[in-house]
Symmetry: C2
Subunit: 300 residues, 2 copies
């Protein structure tokens, strides 16, 4: 199968879009027409999973042709127990069927033998195209994922600099050797892990998660790690706007994809009207804004 | 509900045991009498989950009264998809029913709002007593778990120094400030996170994962962090023996519990005989050895 980075950045060119839609289903935010459960059902995982199924299929249809990938956030599925896990499996299958790349936002990380089971679970069994991975365990916890970048054409995004306030507490600690922060050291490890996985596009299938909420650090990372594709969270509901993102793209306007979850999923709350149309309009607006920023404010 | 640390260390005293049995089901290692699937069924998640159900219930029965806790390793359940996730839910319920504490080895970690969904998933919905958590996101990724140490009596174990070889790559990096490694800094954060969760036993419900494979570092951490209970992996199949563990216990022989997974689950392979009896004998031998080490080589 084709290299993951080639598939991802090929889709960016084809759709003229850097948009990833995060799938974070939350019952309290669903459109009123889908919030039809009686109070006794709101604690019923199967009933909730059924609501989310309808909602997420609606979202997939709404952003078709606009988003290059969707990113199911595992936590929101696990919060419904096995009913939610089954929904995750179905939504991944449906999204792939519709031509989206799927990035399983699992943030798993463990010792080698266990990481192998996680890689199998999300890339082989569920069939996601890529998965987010925590670097805390070092190389042996990453290898099973790297292995699947070869013949299987899968990818991973390593958590280098996350979008949340607490990310500074460990990721920004300054190291004695070199005087650089921990996250920059991890970005260097990511380069090493990606050496054998570079595609025709010049990027590797071992990417990095770099929060949009840290624009200067992201821009520094972009320059220092020219073969590492970025998955950029923190756009939209988490506070970062398009102008903060100019530094995450390379000179060709590529090398990064940007996630937005709640701002697209629940766009009807700000925009009114049909929830699918609102999600589509929000995603399209984001697509145009990012395309312009990535290409120096020009074409959309 | 009673503080988690009090429940855990109370069970250590009651059972004169520091033993945690890791639940890592692996079809290829099951006793031959349970490996009855025809080749076409080995890829069938429901059939595998059914085998694992019989096996894990047998293990729970075998180590009853010996182990203080069981630690389902989520990766091995997720590798069976939703059938495996359902098995995880059933095994946690069964283990709690039988009087084990349950530590969900999920190693989750994410930004605050998502960490809340993970805490809900594993502590509220599945009902584990504690969960392992990755510190990479800092305080806001930990807070939802800490919140549940209060009225809900739940606990967490933060990954401070893991048992695998790659753990050195990030966890051992030396910091410019203070010249100490990253994992010691994280151990300091764990102290802070546990301040409001200290039980009558003097330990907090915010514990640390400290690998048995790093005995000197573990002993230093034990002295420096007297209110942090340790969950110690790496014993048995991963290579550490009882003599390496003397430094992880406090002067009273408590403050830590020790996990063994494969060496107990698949003890029949080395010991022969009935697989349940072999698991029980192996767990009892571990219990005696640890109790002796924790109490200065004396009583068992």
């Amino acid at each position: 199968m084709k290299n993951f980075a080639d598939r991802l950045l090929g889709a960016v060119e084809d759709r003229r879009s850097h948009v990833v839609v995060g799938l974070d289903p939350d019952y309290s935010l669903l459109p009123p027409e889908l919030r039809t459960l009686v109070p006794s059902q709101v604690a019923d995982a199967d009933a909730l999973a059924e609501c989310f199924d309808v909602f997420l299929r609606g979202i997939l249809g709404a952003v078709a042709g606009i988003a290059v990938a969707v990113k199911p956030q595992l936590a929101y599925f696990e919060a419904l127990g096995s009913a939610g896990y089954g929904l995750y499996e179905r939504i991944v299958a449906e999204a792939r069927e519709q031509g989206f790349l799927v990035i399983a936002d699992a943030k798993r990380g463990d010792i080698g033998s266990t990481a192998e089971a996680y890689a199998r679970a999300h890339l082989d069994v569920v069939g996601a195209d890529a998965v987010t991975v925590n670097p805390w365990f070092g190389t042996d916890g990453i290898e099973p994922f790297i292995l699947r970048t070869k013949d299987d054409g899968r990818g991973l995004f390593v958590l280098v600099k996350t979008s949340n306030p607490g990310s500074a507490e460990i990721q920004d600690l300054v190291l004695a050797a070199g005087g650089s922060p921990v996250f920059e050291h991890v970005a260097g490890l990511v380069d090493t892990w990606g050496v054998g996985a570079v595609g025709e596009c010049g990027y590797s299938s071992v990417g990095a998660v770099v929060g949009a909420t840290h624009p200067e650090q992201a821009a520094r990372l972009r320059v220092a790690h020219p073969t590492t594709p970025f998955l950029v969270p923190g756009f939209g509901a988490q506070g970062a706007g398009p102008s903060q993102l100019s530094g995450i793209f390379d000179a060709g306007g590529t090398g990064a994809v940007v996630n937005s979850s709640r701002a697209i999923l629940y766009a009807y709350r700000a925009r009114g009207g049909d929830w699918r149309a609102a999600a589509r309009d929000e995603a399209e607006e984001m697509r145009r804004a990012l395309w312009a920023v990535a290409h120096g404010g020009g074409e959309s």
